[in-house]
């Protein structure tokens, strides 16, 4: 196949963050890989039968089982002596943090040789932008609308990378599609390690976040610059922060221009700022420490 293993012409939205993530997953993995994907935007838009965007063997079964399907693939490859072929499971935030959470935990705990990648667009974008466990605090979604009484989602984002790391797996990383070399390097590193690996990549959703098509990367970068999303690795239990801005940009710069945060009052923005600062400092204070 010429060019990318992830072919253009799929049905994802213009400026789709997750589609960028898919393309770079395959750039980093190369062709000797099998992908198991959960139901979601990236499954639906890339495989309208009889077309497919995938230049590598790929399987989708249901929403909640990418991790268990991948477990079976990895074991089959092992039994067949085809262990050189890598296995990557891919799910969105709903498929990974919510409905597929048990399957993901089982896969990590059992120790299969699989890299699990969550593309995190912070909502059930495929079904019309509903709240997921990874939707950030005060974001408006179609099931947590910005009401006069309740201003969007009231809970914090589930800390899935840390939960993954608590399984004592050899490698966990966070990434952003704005830092594409970092993302690809993390995939390559993960694939060089035997056992279960977990990467969570922040991938903005144009219609879900209510941002212009040409601002996908902008917001993926702003998330990191403001500390809303921190790039780190946990290798054999040890935390390493990969990117520390000299000074955190105010979260306002990230929140501004996103429809899902349009309703925020100065008080709520301040609450988010305080929360992000506290969380960031807590995390950074553990840099270099053996967490698990």
């Amino acid at each position: 196949m010429k060019g990318d293993l992830f072919a253009p012409g799929h049905r994802a939205c213009a400026g789709c963050g997750p589609a960028i993530a898919m393309r770079h997953i395959l750039r980093a993995s190369g062709p000797d890989v099998i992908i198991a994907q959960a139901t979601g935007c990236m499954e639906v838009t890339t495989t309208p039968y009889p077309e497919t965007a995938w230049g590598v063997p790929w399987i989708h079964v249901t929403f909640e089982n990418a991790a268990s399907v991948a477990s079976g693939i990895a074991e089959a490859l092992k039994m067949q002596g085809r262990e050189n072929t890598k296995v990557i499971a891919i799910g969105g935030d709903g498929g990974s943090a919510d409905i597929g959470f048990g399957a993901l935990s089982g896969m990590l705990e059992r120790g299969h040789d699989v890299l699990y990648i969550t593309y995190d667009n912070e909502s059930y974008a495929n079904t019309g932008v509903q709240r997921s466990g990874l939707t950030p605090m005060y974001a408006a979604t179609t099931t947590t609308p910005a009401g006069s009484k309740i201003p969007g989602k009231t809970q914090r984002k589930k800390d899935l990378p840390m939960i993954a790391a608590a399984h004592h797996i050899p490698y966990v990383a966070t990434a952003s599609i704005a830092f594409i070399e970092d993302f690809e390097a993390k995939i390559r590193k993960a694939l060089s390690i035997k056992g279960p690996k977990y990467i969570q990549v922040l991938a903005p959703c144009v219609p879900g976040w209510g941002i212009p098509e040409n601002k996908t990367i902008y917001y993926a970068r702003k998330a990191v610059e403001t500390g809303m999303w921190v790039l780190y690795e946990i290798e054999n239990g040890k935390l390493k922060i990969n990117y520390r801005p000299q000074k955190l940009a105010p979260v306002k710069e990230y929140l501004e221009g996103q429809r899902r945060f349009k309703h925020l009052t100065p008080e709520l923005i301040e609450k988010i700022q305080d929360f992000v600062k506290a969380e960031y400092e807590k995390l950074v204070s553990k840099d270099g420490m053996q967490l698990f």
């Binding site: 099998i34 009889p50 590598v56 063997p57 989708h60 079964v61 477990s71 089959a76």
Partner: protein, 382 residues
């Protein structure tokens, strides 16, 4: 061949071992759980070279072996009741993707209330899911049918998952003398799997894509049409097995027992043993045992029931909303186009592990002999 006295579950595990599966997805549930336990012993003692995945839920048991089957490995799982219900979504995906897979279901009642004992509601509730379903009468048939199931599912003309149903407790926990075939014979009967559409970077394929209405409907129709073509292949495999191993189960599709009498009982599974005893004790009743439940062998059943005065369908399930059991619906449908169709009645029992005795059946026959379309419930005891 070695004759051993084995618990039903352990005999099934022996049969699975003989088939040399590569990947097993296993989760404990009563009463199927002795099957994975014995397989785990085989794996951990080096008697079976397989990866046994101790998953975190039945949903992952079936999902993991879907992944392994799509990768070209021979797979196995076993479950019961709530476990099968939890697998439901993936069962449709597996048959929709036409994967070669074998699962043993130790049939058990469904909640609520929760009940661990035998009936068929678990398998019956999966009758539209596109899996081939076989019901066995005894432990020997369970052993032989597992071996046949692999041949059926791995036949290129089939490539469709197979469910082997055995009555929970009555068959899984009973000790029976069983012939365990020789490994050499099984190896000859069941060559290594060479699945043509496996996930392979040398020949990348997309499995389980998204389909718009027209291609979706076309693929569903294709599976619907193909499904009925499996019946002669099930028979072919059964006949070949009979030739090699010297054991047969009717014609592989149904079993007729003294079916030259005016009244015929139609049923499935282990209750057929009780019915056979009754048949032996009188001269007006015969038996048709349905072995292949899905695809339902409509013509074959009709042929076996032609000219009968009365047909009594005995079953351990209900078709909620249909005012009868589910097997009854299929049998009545098989009689639909018959000119002088027999009277047909339904007897429901064995629900949640209640007993069905020979006397219960005799009583039902006497009560229903002249009736047509009656739904009778056996007395609840046990």
């Amino acid at each position: 061949m070695v004759k051993k006295i084995l618990e039903g579950s352990h005999a099934v595990a022996e049969a699975v071992k003989l088939c040399r599966p590569h990947v097993l997805g296993m989760y404990p549930i009563t009463p199927s759980t002795h099957i994975p336990e014995r397989l785990a012993e085989f794996v951990n003692n080096g008697e079976l070279n397989a990866s046994l995945i101790r998953v975190e839920a039945e949903f992952s048991a079936i999902s993991s072996i879907v992944g392994a089957a799509a990768t070209g490995s021979r797979v196995f799982t076993a479950t019961s009741s709530q476990g099968l219900a939890l697998m439901h979504e993936v069962l449709y995906a597996a048959s929709g993707m036409r994967l070669p897979m074998v699962m043993v279901v130790a049939n058990r009642a469904l909640s609520a209330p929760i009940n661990i004992w035998n009936d068929w509601q678990d398998a019956i509730s999966e009758r539209e899911n596109g899996w081939i379903q076989l019901f066995v009468e005894n432990v020997q048939e369970a052993v032989d049918t597992v071996i046949q199931a692999y041949r059926i599912t791995e036949d290129e003309r089939v490539y469709n998952p197979v469910m082997v149903n055995m009555d929970g407790f009555y068959l899984t926990h009973v000790y029976e003398p069983v012939d365990i075939p020789d490994q050499k014979d099984v190896d000859e009967f069941l060559p290594p799997l060479n699945y043509k559409y496996k996930l392979d970077p040398k020949k990348p394929l997309t499995h389980g894509p998204f389909a718009y209405p027209v291609p979706y409907a076309m693929l569903r129709k294709r599976n619907f049409d193909d499904f009925h073509s499996f019946e002669p292949i099930v028979k072919e495999v059964h006949d070949e097995f009979a030739k090699k191993f010297g054991r047969s189960y009717g014609d592989g599709i149904i079993e007729e027992y003294k079916n030259d009498r005016p009244i015929t009982i139609v049923t499935m599974g282990s209750i057929s043993g009780t019915v056979k005893e009754l048949v032996d004790s009188r001269d007006d009743v015969g038996l048709v045992r349905v072995r292949l439940y899905r695809p339902f062998p409509k013509e074959r059943v009709a042929e076996a029931l032609e000219g009968k005065e009365m047909v009594l369908v005995i079953e351990k399930d209900v078709a909620m909303g249909s005012r009868s059991g589910a097997l009854f619906l299929d049998i009545r449908d098989a009689l639909f186009s018959m000119r002088d169709r027999p009277r047909i009645n339904n007897a429901i029992g064995g629900i949640g592990g209640t007993d069905i005795t020979r006397e219960d059946i005799a009583k039902a026959i006497d009560e229903l002999k002249e009736k047509d379309g009656e739904i009778h419930w056996f007395e609840m005891r046990g």
